[in-house]
Amino acid sequence: MSRTTLNREIKNTSNEVREFSFKQKKELLSKQEIIDQFLDAIPVLKKVLADRTKTLEDIVDKIDYLTTLGKPSESALLKINDLISLLRDWHSVVIREYVSLNSIRKLKIAKEEIKSYKSAIDDLKEVYEDMESIYFFLPGMPEFEETTKEISMI
């Protein structure tokens, strides 16, 4: 690096530091303002978590409804298999988000909302596992299929 470039970089950086420092000094947050901003963010976080929980619960209800529509055709089964993969991917996304909430959880902020969100995430896992059972594993178990036939004759 040439001396001229170095000097220019030092000057630019110094200017940036001066600008940020000056700006922050003018807008210095008081302790009360920091607390206020933090408190303002809590209801926003609670709302976001409640909305995410509701979305997960609605999807689980829709999947429950799918299972009431009877035996799927081969082409429908292929789509169900894709849906299971989508749900599995979604679960890995939301569980990562839940883990990132750890520090907030430790502060006991939005405790109920985080708890409900986790239950809904667990429900998502449960529903794609159940879909695999319903459409792929249980129909492949002879005892299960035999019982379905016998019960339908009652």
Binding site: T68, D130, I151, I154
Partner: protein
């Protein structure tokens, strides 16, 4: 609707009821299952792809609540409670295995055939189990 249950359901019910964390189980079961028509009890997750005699897994009290497994036979207007487990708390479980689902399914068929079931009724806000 006539409500029956397997021994497994009765055993789990009493085990859970004895825990403070699950003291709402009786009221949840009464609220959902008693004095209902078949169509009121036909929602949930069908495990057997059968709409005439669905083997249903029902979520009671939402995501973190209970899971009740039962058979609904529209033709006879009867339901058969097979198993219950909580999702959370000291006796919480995430799910039951495919083998257990199959075992309960076979068991309920055999018990219907042999009439080896408990009939459920309510007395003073409590569930009473009477052997057939």
């Amino acid at each position: 609707m006539d409500i029956f249950c397997l021994q497994e359901f009765k055993d789990e019910f009493y085990k859970l009821k004895s825990k403070k964390a699950y003291n709402n189980l009786t009221s949840e079961i009464i609220k959902y299952f008693f004095n209902k028509k078949a169509e009121d009890l036909s929602s949930g997750r069908y495990l057997n792809n059968n709409t005439i005699t669905p083997y249903i897994k029902k979520r009671l009290k939402g995501s973190g609540g209970y899971r009740v497994y039962y058979l609904l036979i529209h033709k006879t207007g009867s339901i058969y409670l097979m198993f219950v487990h909580p999702k959370t708390g000291p006796m919480g479980a995430p799910n039951i295995t495919n083998e257990t689902k199959t075992l309960l399914y076979k068991k309920v068929f055999n018990c219907i055939r042999k009439e080896d079931l408990y009939k459920l009724s309510i007395l003073d806000k409590k569930i009473v189990f009477n052997k057939n």
